[in-house]
Amino acid sequence: MPQQLDYLKETPSQTAGPYVHIGLAPGAAGFQIYDQELGQDIAGPNAAGERIRVEGLVIDGIGSPVKDVLLEAWQANSAGVYAHPEHGGEVEEGFRGWGRVITDFETGEWAFETVKPGPVMGRNGQMMAPHINLWIVARGINIGLNTRLYFEDEAEANASDPIINVIEWEKRRETLIAKRSERDGQTVYRFDICLQGEDETVFFDI
């Protein structure tokens, strides 16, 4: 027998189930236990850049909003720097770049406030358009789904984004573009996520 490679196998995923809120957002489950719940402030008070609201629905293959989803967002700051020691740049004090939100139990709407990220250098010197990385878990989702939110008003950067261009079908690229509007003086991006069906969002194996 040849030598063993001695790698371990990754722990297999299991669904987050309907009660994910107990662990990750206990206030939403209906009780107060931690002094601070994590992931409620993505950008912090000192972050430079445009303040935005991002909102949407998660829609199943029947066309119905999914009301027990938890989403996590991971993004760079407005200068395109991630709050991570290996990325090497500096971020504003209090900028974490990470947040988690749940869908409303009645309407299925989710929303978070942050700053619009800047472009981030990707592989081989190719600049990536501004984007927010999203991870979606829920009952019925056996392994977390990864996607990226890009911004409608970054058409030029989006057109040359190396990730968007990996997607063979131009029509499907549209599923990653959040629509911009103004509401009560605030910039709002709408990003509905379709888990399945004709308008199925592009999900990535990262």
Binding site: Y7, L8, K9, E10, T11, P12, S13, Q14, T15, A16, G17, P18, Y19, V20, I22, G23, L24, P26, A29, G30, I33, Y34, D60, G61, I62, D68, E72, W74, G80, Y82, A83, H84, E86, H87, G88, G89, E90, G97, F105, V120, G122, R123, N124, M128, H131, N133, W135, V137, A138, R139, N142, I143, V166, I167, L195, Q196, F203, F204, D205, I206
Partner: protein
């Protein structure tokens, strides 16, 4: 200001045959919630190789003790007192230090403290059902809790979840993010559970079963189970691998 670094080593590709597929018809809720198109495979960029960091400021020292973190003073939850402990490792068998581990579970009667859970087993006034901790420099973590009960759920008419604890882990990159469930050695419900069975490989299922650990048991006090968690491993070389002139 230092310049962002794009020379960062990649993570090994996820073995999608080891994980459950999105669509698993016997777990009925997955049917309408599973993407039909193939995932688009991405080579890691800084967006995937970075990820959130957590520190001891983010939590309280007692957050990993589910026996006390929601109990009235002088009281404790009903149930079998257990320790769940182990290490977070990567596929290279190296410890993952300083990473956030969050858990949630039903109480000893199989009831969740959640406004959407209507199972007739009672809420335990002394049990919240969630905990969190950060691994130490050796990747070690530790929780004290009570063993959760089995509970019925709507799938087929007579489905019961084996006793389980939900586990969420971060690692150091967004590409390592993982949620799973821990089961207990010897539970006869494991083999009939449609959620367990979403995992196609029996060896992968074994990886989710915590082992009774008598050496970590506290005599006359608390019994122990060991549960190691493995996150994606990472290459040791950088990904800026284009040859000159290409």
């Amino acid at each position: 200001m230092t310049k962002p670094n794009q020379n960062m080593a990649e993570y090994y590709q996820r073995d999608r045959r080891w994980h459950p597929p999105a669509y698993a018809k016997d777990y009925k809720t997955s049917v309408a919630r599973s993407p039909k198109f193939s995932l688009i495979s991405l080579e890691n960029t800084p967006s995937e190789i970075t990820g959130p960091r957590f520190g001891h400021n983010d939590l309280a020292p007692t957050d990993n003790d589910l026996i006390s973190n929601y109990a009235q003073p002088g009281e404790s939850p009903i149930g079998e007192r257990i320790i769940v402990h182990g290490r977070v490792l990567d596929e290279n068998a190296r410890p993952v230090p300083n990473t956030l581990v969050e858990i949630w579970q039903a109480n000893a009667g199989g009831r969740y403290r959640h406004k959407k859970d209507t199972y007739l087993a009672p809420i335990d006034p002394n049990f919240g059902g969630c905990g969190r901790t950060i691994t130490d420099e050796n990747g070690y973590y530790y929780f004290r809790t009570v063993k959760p009960g089995a509970y019925p759920w709507r799938n087929w008419v007579n489905d019961w979840r084996p006793a389980h604890i939900h586990v969420s882990v971060f690692g150091s990159a967004f590409a390592q993010r993982l949620i799973t469930q821990l089961y207990f050695e010897g539970d006869p419900l494991i083999k009939s559970c449609p959620i367990v069975a979403t995992i196609p490989d029996p060896d992968a299922i074994e990886q989710l079963i915590a082992r009774l650990d008598m050496n970590a048991t506290i005599p006359l006090d608390t019994i122990a189970y060991k549960f190691d968690i493995v996150l994606r491993g990472r290459r040791s070389t950088l990904f800026e691998n284009r040859l000159e002139g290409n």
